[in-house]
Amino acid sequence: MGDLRLMKGNEVLAEAAIRCGCDGYFGYPITPQSEVMEMLMFREPWNETGMKVLQAESEVAAINMLYGAAATGKKVLTSSSSPGISLMAEGISYIAGAELPCLVINVQRGGPGLGTIQPSQADYSQAVKGGGHGDYKMIVLAPSSVQEMNDFVDLAFELAFKYRNPAMILTDGAIGQMMEKVELSDYKKRWTDEEVIEKWGSWATTGKPSSRERNVITSLELDSEKMEANNQRFQKKYRQMEAEEQRYETFQIEDAEYVLVAFGTSARVCQKSVEIAREKGLKVGLLRPISLFPFPKNIIGELAPKVKGFLSVEMNAGQMVEDIKLAVHEAGCTRRVEFFGRMGGIIPTPGEVVDALEQNFLKE
């Protein structure tokens, strides 16, 4: 048995960062995720693994510190919640444009504006469509348990470095604040400077030796032909992610006539909804997207011809539902795709979801 603990989701993010050999964290306090930095400051990883932690003067500064540190080929992350992520959008766009790996965690709260500190999934579109200016994508992973908060930190870094692209863990205040049993990962060593040069010396700003050309990290290219070529390279990368990184989990899907589609906290709710519906004799299953970009559209395409309909259950006004519709359409199908959601920091109840299913598909 590994290192079993009872811990808060936010604290686990911090612990997982230390253990996966992270070099640095830059952040700015905001509810409901301040425990990430509090835990890091309490743990003092600079004494243990050498990981540095810095409280920045704003989210704008934090994301740009991340941009600087990521350019040197090191493993770095930040975390924030919705309003702070909006402030980071410019920086994330620069990071994507300069093709740097890093991890950004969004522990979502309800919006728009200052909104509420209660959990929400209203930043889905911001996360999966890019969020800042320009055509770019982040790899977006959505944990639905404290265990996945642990596991996805390492996974996000692996994917970020594989594609030289920012990755995001998109979670919410419920999972961030929730305590659950978690098996912590084993410690991985931080890369030494020599290892960083060996792995990423071809592009990282590690200081120019005479043996190579200077490395320049920039998103700027004033020659339109070249800038289009850059964009084509990015798009190729995003298509490769779509081909290779679609992740999801299914629950009671084999004989399902109706499929609930939900991620993160709403997926936890829907698991119970499936049980309630099954007790009523309804053949209902659950599809839980784990990677939100790339969206697991292949499985939706596979399910579409076999089922009578999909119900997207989200803690927002209906954002992922658009991607489900697209996936069904791309599969050449005409299945009904409906939506049920609560907003403003409210988590739907399992019963409400079953009611919505019946309302949408089984009335008259």
Binding site: A56, G68, A71, D193, G207, L220
Partner: protein
Amino acid sequence: MDVKEIIKPENQVYGKTELLTDNVMHYCPGCTHGVVHKLMAELIDEMGLQEKAIGVAPVGCAVFAYNYIDIDWQEAAHGRAPAVATGIVRINPEKFVFTYQGDGDLASIGAAEIIHACNRGENILVVFINNGIYGMTGGQMAPTTIERMVTSTTPCGRDTELNGYPLKMTDLVAQLPGTSYVTRQSAQSAPAVRKCKRALKKGIKNVLDKKGTSFVEVVSTCNSGWKMTPVKANEWMEENMFPFYPLGDMKDSEKDKPVSNN
């Protein structure tokens, strides 16, 4: 002496440092950026820092600094260079990290980042080109634009009632305990260039000695933006900018001089 004799290495009195690339600079003739680039390239070369140096370029006319000095570079978002440099140096404390920023970049959109980086005493050199104007976007008012100075957004001259007062960023950062060396220089004449180089060298040395932030302002000309000939721009700067932005060291922790005297 014939030409062959003159160009013999032993007769050479001046050479271009190899760290300055052969790329044709995009700066206008008369612009101060080119001179300060040359000084930084020379110093990095003379001090043997090429392998240690990471430059952070701003958004502004110096956005392409990375085309001219042969070291590793990162191009920051507008105003964020001090945060980018913080990220680099915190994770790589053995590197020599510097930002190179204009006055719009440093004193306007990036005011928060520069104040906090200096206040934390990040171990970086900040090179601050104060030409009193937004050069790159075509000559709009900067926070440093002096009273009554004409720019494209102050066509009748800077009116403090409408636009507020010019901001002396260097005086501000000299107050902060995180800075070790704060100075204001210029580069319009040979003696000024030599002094400026000494100041930059001192700033670099302080960073290598891990003394915290060194901040070198260079009062500069933007003759295109100011719509003057290079010579006229230098005269105008001496007459109008120097009285408001007096040259000299404001803080030198080595000499333990009192902070700011303006």
